[in-house]
Symmetry: C2
Subunit: 430 residues, 2 copies
């Protein structure tokens, strides 16, 4: 199992969706490269990729986020429709339920989004009530007053949004990568990234301040693996690997929990008409607490999540567990007040994973420092941007000043680099 | 000792130079405020403020950094000359020794700096050799070849730069603050910042995602202290306090070590003429490894430091210790090759502290989130910007859209806020 005597052109750390896309696009661009993808799990995409709620959307106000997402979604559609590899892409839409003040805020960014080609449908309160008899526009219970729940005034549906199966996208990349001759090594946990002096003297404590540092390999539970270039695609684990080297990746780990809800009371909502050709509810965002839920028709259930902010720690755990109390006290009250059909329904399943949050601008980071390429900061929207991010990693490897994304879109990788970023302002954060 | 029953208008966490400046300016602006400054040490400025090398300079390319530093240095001069409180401000200059490639890089930013009023003196190699007979422009030893030490081609002296005594500046602020009625509580370590729901229900796990969070106080080794506003001036300790709240402060802790060198071989260098009216060497930056040293004439010695980058961990320790091997392998080789008068001289004293590094733009961060004001990210140049940062904290408290700094300079606090920062590019990092 030990690969310690081998040397690779590129070692990709992490076989999540980002590492897989990067490895595939690298190998496609440079077929002769000896690439090894490492992962601590036993198969591709078994970490946080598999924990995702897997929504995809192009409704961003930042030009870069829109570009990365639109291009990736188009590629997944291409994979599904033209290549014929099913990735369960369903454009069921995203539906934001908005209070009066949220609607006003949305108005200020709406025309800009439309001008940039984001297709939106605005649904007024009356229409919403007709389309969704399960929705209570203005909750009136005592509890809803304690919670300061405001009236839903309108809905905004992102039309080029939907859901995908991340494990299928991952499988596509992994299979293609292997077909091109790419290698995997699973069950291999990277303990440490090796930073050495370019002209190593074999003395203790190198690299010294007067030496040029270089990333020489990765220390794993199966020994040292050397590489000319190291790609870090480790998601929320990234600061744990890079902080010891004094390499600031600008991301922090944040736990995210998903709860699966099932019940006959949800049947009508699951089969809501008037939103999409699938005749189901879009991925729906409630107007309080960042609580959202998506239909999973194959399972006859909904997945519920919450994009919490202040109050939940930045901290990483190796084996995160969902907390039922988190559902009970945080999600359930909001969910059941606006959609009483969820009342008394308890989770039948749940899981937890980690986001790699970039609090600066909620936009991915791809940069090369010495011979290390960093791809991180997906901030919860990594699945929907993974194809673009992988192509940018390949372009950075090739020192290209411009990356070509799917659909012949172009972007300078430096725009999502660590310094002098130019990503535009993101005002539509889920 | 317990203050748990008391409630303050403002609690300032940290009696370092930033917390002291903030507390003083807050109290001066709002004399009726009940302010309490907390610190785990027994007196003001006993933490990282006291570990500083205490250089002050205005030689920044970022407009904001220049503004913050120039204004603070002018204030310290005012304190010393006009108020008559000695803060040991000595404008001995900063001297950058530059290789050919560093000189070329400097050329590209020189005119911009001069246009913005930064006074610089360029000294060519021959002049340097005359002024500094102890300097070897081109080290020729075998070791210097291994180290790839390049020839020093020129020196650039920042004229409005020098050194100050941080503990004296701190004393000034502390005394003035107490005169105005401000309170201290020492020996008080903040264990946790309390984040609660605005409309607390007394249930476990609050604040929930549907509640508005508010900072209600600080938990200390002497009990809970409540406050309407909390000012976080905790330097490198900041992420330890804020990460558990999911509050990203964008700084990481980096250890910095200072070594004191003394010896008769250094007398001539200590009394170098031709640079300043003090007839001493400026704070001098060597062209390799970020190694620098400053004269401390009262101690007949030099303090040596290094601004290391990649290769030294981001990590915090409560009681950091200097490592003699760090001096031996990192600083000494560079120092002794360019200035052989340091040969065989071993440190007589040493200490270590922490920088609160903002890797994004090496510029301070002041922002208000809910009722918490954050002042951090000094990145190793906090002493020289402390007065301005304190005034900006006061302006942020007062919700002013513009802060007035010493010398009637003005800046919008939002420029150094957490989001949508606008600080300009810093290309002259020490």
């Amino acid at each position: 199992m030990s690969q310690s005597s081998e040397r690779f052109d590129v070692v990709v750390v992490g076989a999540g969706i980002i590492g897989l896309s990067a490895a595939y696009h690298l190998k496609e661009e440079e077929p002769n490269l000896r690439i090894l993808v490492l992962d601590r799990n036993a198969a591709p995409a078994q970490g946080d990729t598999s924990k995702s709620v897997a929504g995809v959307r192009n409704t961003f106000t930042s030009e870069v986020n829109r570009l990365l997402a639109s291009s990736s979604i188009d590629f997944y559609r291409h994979v599904q429709s033209e290549i014929g590899f099913d990735v369960s892409l369903e454009m069921i839409g995203y539906l934001w339920l908005m209070t009066d003040s949220q609607s006003k805020r949305f108005e200020s960014i709406e025309s800009g989004m439309r001008q940039q080609g984001v297709r939106l449908r605005v649904i007024d309160g009356q229409q919403l009530a007709e389309l969704l008899p399960d929705l209570v526009l203005q909750p009136k219970s005592d509890q809803s007053k304690v919670m300061h729940l405001s009236e839903v005034c309108q809905g905004v549906q992102g039309l080029d949004c939907g859901t995908v199966a991340p494990e299928s996208v991952a499988k596509f990349y992994a299979e293609q990568y292997v077909k091109l001759g790419g290698q995997f090594q699973f069950g291999t946990e990277v303990k440490r990234i090796h930073l050495e002096a370019k002209d190593d003297l074999g003395l203790p404590g190198e690299p010294y301040v007067w030496q040029d540092p270089i990333f020489s390999g990765v220390e794993t539970n199966h020994g040292l693996i050397k590489a000319d270039t190291i790609v870090i695609a480790t998601g929320a684990r990234t600061p744990i690997l890079l902080d010891p080297l004094g390499f600031d990746c600008f991301v922090k780990a944040k736990k995210r929990q998903v709860f699966q809800l099932r019940g006959t009371a949800l049947t009508r909502l699951l089969n809501a008409k008037g939103f999409n050709e699938q005749n189901t509810l879009p991925l729906t965002i409630l107007p309080k607490g960042g609580v959202y839920f998506r239909p999973v028709r194959g399972e006859k259930s909904f997945w519920v999540g919450a994009a919490d902010d202040l109050g939940r720690p930045f901290a990483f755990e190796n084996e995160p567990m969902p907390e039922e109390s988190y559902f009970t006290y945080n999600m359930y009250p909001v969910l059941s007040e606006y959609f009483p059909c969820f009342q008394s329904i308890r989770p039948v399943n749940s899981w937890a994973g980690f986001y790699d949050i970039n609090s600066v601008d909620s936009t991915p980071i791809v940069d090369k420092i010495s011979n290390c390429i960093l791809a991180t900061g997906m901030s919860g929207s990594g699945i929907m941007k993974a194809d673009s991010v992988g192509r940018i990693v390949a372009a950075v490897y090739q020192n290209k000043s411009e990356a070509t994304l799917y659909g012949n879109r172009r972007i300078a990788p430096s725009r999502i680099g660590l310094v002098n970023r130019s990503v535009g302002k993101e005002e539509f954060v889920l």
